[in-house]
């Protein structure tokens, strides 16, 4: 592990109440990484939508299942992984919510918002054991320069809520 990498890992019970817990952790991690308030809110929203997907669509709102989150602060970016125990989905099969014919659809904007707010987004099917979403938000060169002299102490938390 790169000595300048900070890692936070959390395992949460698959319950909608824990979406706000994930949001709170995200705000703190994104703030620590150096993102400004607007960017923190966008990252928080991407995590919110991913948590909803994991709990509601992946784990089918089954509270005996769990959602695992990992936040990795690197010199130039924040990487977030969210893993559920569901059957997965193909993000390419989601209709474009900006098409005129879909504009008044009630659902189908979650993935679009994640893609809008993050720089990278990918979905991996874990051979029938779950689905892992990886999202990346890059730090601007200005923030990297500002934080460049500071070596980050490695820390890892693993908690279940």
């Amino acid at each position: 592990m790169n000595p300048e990498t900070s890692v936070v890992e959390v395992t949460l019970e698959s319950d909608l109440k824990n979406v706000e817990v994930a949001e709170e952790i995200t705000r703190r991690v994104a703030g620590t990484a150096g993102f400004d308030e607007d960017e923190q809110q966008r990252i928080e929203m991407a995590v919110h939508e991913s948590m909803i997907n994991a709990i509601w669509h992946g784990n089918k709102n089954d509270s005996s299942k769990s959602v695992w989150l990992q936040f990795k602060i690197l010199r130039d970016r924040l990487e977030i992984r969210i893993r559920d125990q569901g059957k997965g989905f193909d993000p390419h099969n989601v209709p474009d919510p900006l098409d005129n014919e879909n504009l008044l659809n009630v659902s189908g904007r979650g993935i679009f918002l994640i893609r809008s707010f993050m720089d990278e987004f990918k979905v991996e099917n874990l051979n029938g054991t779950g689905t892992e979403v990886t999202m990346v938000k890059r730090l601007s060169p200005e923030i990297q320069t500002k934080q460049g002299g500071t070596d980050r102490e490695h820390e890892s938390h693993n908690t279940t809520s």
């Binding site: 919110h48 909803i52 504009l103 008044l104 009630v106 659902s107 904007r109 679009f112 809008s116």
Partner: protein, 119 residues
């Protein structure tokens, strides 16, 4: 904080002051029931004041769309008032800002209900 709503009548318009979170689960359910309830009472001119909405997610946006189409189908009108920057930005990137009739002044929003909709 979950969603809270207070309802007041101004002329022929039902103004709903919403605060808190409109998200999947409780917030969306409350909004859906509120709209259904108002339509059931024959209140078809609805102005949603979103000034104190702290959070809205993709499901909340979907619920606003559902409310808009539901009210329109009943021959009424649903308009939005006092969007926060967050909600404004979300409606912009989802291209819904042009769908909703959005106001930032309550008096002009109320007045707009008595004007015929532009073609």
């Amino acid at each position: 904080m979950s969603m809270k709503a207070t309802i007041r009548q101004v002329d022929s318009v039902t103004v709903v002051d919403i605060s808190g979170r409109i998200t999947l689960g409780e917030g969306c359910t409350q909004l859906r029931e509120l709209i259904r309830d108002q339509l059931g009472k024959g209140n078809k001119n609805l102005l949603l004041n979103l000034a104190d909405v702290t959070y809205i997610d993709s499901s909340g946006i979907g619920e606003l769309v559902s409310a808009y189409t539901g009210v329109s189908k009943q021959g009424g009108a649903l308009k939005l008032l006092n969007l926060t920057k967050k909600v404004h930005d979300l409606l912009q990137i989802t291209k819904l800002y042009t769908v909703f009739d959005v106001h930032d002044d309550e008096a002009s929003a109320i007045a707009s209900f008595s004007k015929p909709a532009s073609a």
